[in-house]
């Protein structure tokens, strides 16, 4: 037996409407999608997963877990264990069991099922992080529908929202949705009736053996219409699906489609939830979640920064050139790696002689010059802007040329960050999550983790600041 004890969810702040696509293309191919979430240029499934995971851990009121899964059809690296970075961002112990699930839009529910199995096998607390940002060719239905979002679940053996039944089904339906090895966009043959049959048959068969009368259904939503075509196969009415659906405003969330919708259903207080994920190929997972009390949730799914279609293409990097070549200043990957405790977790130092904070904690004490080794000190992630500028076109170091061509002007600040045990220390930080002019001297800000830049194929992640909530 296993249960969900904390839930987090996140969607980027940017939104694009169906109308913006219609203006650009003369049509919009994603049926039932009114608008969708768009990841900012410095976001990817790893950073979105971090956003959801910090919220889930905080909602659950826990810090550590002993089992971690990260699921996405669009992980920022096709090969590399991203749970190592994610675990470091979340300050999880280094001996946590780790799993990366990808290759199917049911990777998210696979993660939840795997967590349930792990708990049954002796794990004490699991964290499942699901984040996705599908991508298609610009003129096709998949890209028109493609949204972005993340959900994270903390699971324990028992809790308020128990996973009482699980089933799955698979049968071969090649060609309905696929992405070849090495390709960056997902495609489909577009054989409408074949695709629909694959979906309905697979999800219907997965649910077939379950005994459930759900008051909410979180079902895979590659667009805003297909879920309702399967309502009859699931034995539910359209309202049961519509009341918790996320596809209409967030778009196709890929592997996060069902997890984010499940998060919303739990946040809305539904007692009996059927979660049905579908992965082309085709296979389906069905989970029955019974909540006999409120589950602690922290959802950040609202967004109100509208994008035009050209801005959408820029933010997603479809029409930008990528980083320039050059030489000069250079921070090697090993150098960056040594600073990960600071980049991810703001680990500072405290001078044993004078008590001043130092960030990064190296070299002589900035206050008294002592060479004594610093004691450990953590920063809260909150602080105040001391100096700030807006970097306009041409003013960015080349490492940030791609970001700037995608996201435009950005704020670069020096921020006084507060220590957990008092004091403050200054650090330089880039602004995110708001327009550059939203940052002024004296403003309160908080830290989050975003993509900093990519060089030699390796993306550097680290903290940035955003206006305090």
């Amino acid at each position: 037996m296993s249960a969900i004890v904390g839930v987090g969810a996140y969607a980027p702040r940017f939104r694009i409407s169906a109308e913006a696509f219609e203006e650009a293309w003369g049509r919009f191919d994603a049926a039932g999608v009114n608008g969708k979430a768009v990841p900012a240029a410095d976001e990817d499934p790893l950073t979105m997963g971090y956003e959801a995971a910090t919220r889930a851990l905080e909602a659950a009121g826990v810090e550590g877990v002993d089992w971690l899964a990260f699921a996405s059809t669009t992980p920022p690296m096709a090969e590399e264990d991203l749970t190592a970075r994610l675990g470091a961002m979340l300050d999880l112990p280094e001996d946590v069991g780790r799993h990366v699930l990808t290759g199917s839009t049911r990777a998210g529910t696979r993660g939840i099922v795997a967590a349930a199995d792990a708990l049954a096998g002796g794990a004490s607390r699991a964290l499942v992080v699901v984040a996705d940002a599908p991508r298609g060719e610009p003129d096709g239905e998949i890209d028109h529908a493609a949204g972005a979002g993340a959900a994270a679940f903390v699971l324990e053996a028992d809790g308020p929202a128990r996973i009482v039944d699980v089933a799955e089904h698979a049968s071969p339906y090649p060609g309905s949705r696929f992405r070849g090895t090495g390709e960056s966009t997902t495609d489909g043959l577009g054989v409408t009736r074949y695709d629909r049959r694959a979906f309905r048959e697979t999800v219907g068969a997965a649910v077939d053996g379950l005994s459930v009368d759900p008051d909410a259904v979180a079902i895979q939503a590659p667009n805003g219409k297909l879920p309702y075509r399967a309502a009859g196969d699931l034995g539910v009415d359209a309202e049961t699906i519509a009341s918790v659906a996320t596809v209409h405003e967030l778009g196709d969330l890929g592997a996060a489609s069902v997890p984010v919708t499940l998060a919303r259903a739990l946040a809305d207080g539904h007692g009996s939830i059927l979660a049905v994920a579908y992965g082309s190929g085709a296979g389906a997972d069905a989970l029955v979640v019974e909540a006999d009390g409120p589950v602690s949730t922290a959802l950040a799914l609202d967004g109100d920064d509208p994008l035009g279609y050209a801005e959408y293409l820029r933010q997603r990097g479809v029409v930008t050139a990528g980083p320039p070549s050059g030489g000069g200043a250079y921070v090697s990957v090993p150098t960056w790696q040594r600073s990960i405790p600071q980049r991810y977790r703001l680990e500072a130092g405290r001078c044993p002689d004078c008590g001043a904070l130092a960030f990064p904690p190296e070299g002589a004490c900035p206050a008294c010059g002592s060479r004594e080794p610093f004691g450990a000190a953590t920063l809260t992630g909150e602080g105040t802007i001391e100096a700030v500028t807006t970097i306009s076109q041409g003013g960015a170091p080349p490492e940030f040329a791609d970001l700037q061509s995608r996201a435009g002007d950005y704020a670069a600040a020096i921020v006084s960050l507060e220590g957990e045990d008092g004091g403050a220390v200054s650090a330089p930080a880039m602004g995110t999550d708001a327009e550059a002019d939203a940052f002024a001297v004296g403003d309160r800000v908080e830290a989050t983790i975003r993509r900093i830049y990519t060089q030699e194929g390796v993306t550097r992640y680290g903290f940035k600041i955003r206006p305090a909530e």
């Binding site: 320039p324 000069g328 100096a387 500028t389 003013g395 170091p397 001297v441 004296g442």
Partner: protein, 394 residues
């Protein structure tokens, strides 16, 4: 300790010169410096050399010093490359003074060069801001325009300094540079122009930022034992001061001063036995308009927080109480990084020898040069005095 004297100084034009190499630019500056020595100088008399360059473009990162001194025929003369970012050749001159004072050398060449215009805009970007703190400051998305803009934001927040006051720096320095045949941007600009330019890093616009430049400058420093052989109106290097600081702005106590400049200024004043009141002119490091304002305060030209009003009042125009950057400064004359510090001393030499042409001040006796590396990780200040010095009533 022997006194050191400035017996010659000269520079190439500053600008973008596709037909020139770093060696040919240095050669031009060297010849100009040698040619400026009042009683003449046989290059064979030079027994030591210091050359400042950052190395932008990577064309000669190792041994750039001998690469230029051998090129101008200083065969076998010991040459040391000095690197302190934009203060490289200011520090080269300081090394020359030390060599003379210590007795190691009698006639020392100190100069610098940089070529910044012959790389693609992408490659150039990789070299901008390389003297900022790399791991943290640069990777928060800043080059120097951003870091100085942060200083400006703090100064504006704390003292109410305005964009218009920043623009007055550009107007003044362009007016001066328009009279300097070596200047890269030798044209005048109006306050309206300087207010309306495109933003580079808010609050700094294009007119608040110096250009990138090619160029070279050389100075020649001689000991008191030999100075009479070269001039009858010696210019004594009366004070030298220098200071270092944390390379990253965020690592400093506050952002509205450049402590390295303060330290350098205090030491130079003390050694020269004068204060800012004893100066007839100054060349300060105005890589950005805010940098000139900070220099006014750090060097004691005005009180803390009052630099904006000070420049707007006209006090630092050629007809003001303390003319600053009669050469046009980095803003108008140009900023070939490794040449800049020596180039400032070229202007001091010209003013003190009456060779400043249209820019000539009326009989100046004492001038100061102020050269900063990065956002203040290094600074060096020199005070020069025409001999014999007589205090004139002010």
């Amino acid at each position: 300790m022997r006194d050191a004297y400035l017996i010659g100084a000269g520079q190439s034009d500053y600008g973008a010169f596709p037909a020139e190499s770093y060696r040919s630019l240095f050669s031009t500056a060297f010849d100009a410096a040698v040619g400026s020595v009042p009683k003449g100088l046989e290059p064979g008399a030079i027994d030591e050399a210091f050359v400042g360059t950052l190395g932008v473009g990577g064309r000669q990162l190792g041994l750039p010093g001998p690469a230029v001194t051998e090129h101008v025929g200083l065969d076998g003369v010991p040459c040391t490359r000095v690197e302190n970012a934009c203060a490289a050749s200011g520090y080269a001159v300081r090394q020359a003074v030390a060599a003379v004072r210590s007795g190691m050398a009698d006639v020392v060449l100190a100069g610098g060069f940089e070529v910044m215009s012959d790389t693609s805009s992408d490659a150039t970007k990789y070299w901008l801001g390389v003297s900022g703190e790399t791991e943290w400051e640069r990777l928060s998305g800043t080059t120097f325009s951003g870091v100085y803009a942060q200083m400006a934001s703090a100064h504006m927040d704390r003292y109410g300094t305005t964009r218009e006051q920043l623009s007055h720096v550009a107007v003044k320095n362009h007016a001066n540079g328009a009279k300097n045949p070596h200047a890269q941007l030798g044209f005048e600009c109006s306050l309206e122009d300087a207010m309306a330019a495109p933003v580079v890093a808010d609050p700094l616009n294009l007119y608040h930022c110096c250009p990138t430049s090619d160029g070279a400058a050389c100075t020649i420093v001689a000991s008191e034992d030999v100075v009479d052989a070269y001039t009858d109106e010696p210019i004594r290097i009366a004070g030298v001061g220098a200071g270092s600081d944390r390379v990253g702005l965020f690592q400093r106590e506050e952002y509205t001063t450049v402590p390295a400049s303060e330290r350098a200024g205090e030491s130079a004043y003390e050694e020269a036995g004068v204060g800012p009141d004893g100066l007839d002119f100054a060349e300060v490091h105005d890589c950005f308009a805010i940098a000139e304002l900070l220099a006014y305060e750090d060097l004691g030209f005005c009180d803390r927080g009052e630099a904006g009003e000070f420049v707007a009042s006209g006090a630092t125009r050629p007809d003001g109480q303390l003319p600053v950057n009669t050469s046009g400064g980095l803003k108008s004359k140009g900023h070939p990084i490794g040449a800049t510090g020596a180039g400032q001393i070229v202007e001091a030499y010209k003013q003190l020898t009456g060779d400043a042409g249209e820019r000539q001040l009326s009989d100046p006796r004492r001038g100061l040069t102020h050269n900063v590396g990065g956002s203040g990780g290094a600074a060096v200040v020199h005070v020069f005095e025409r001999q014999p010095i007589e205090e004139v009533a002010r």
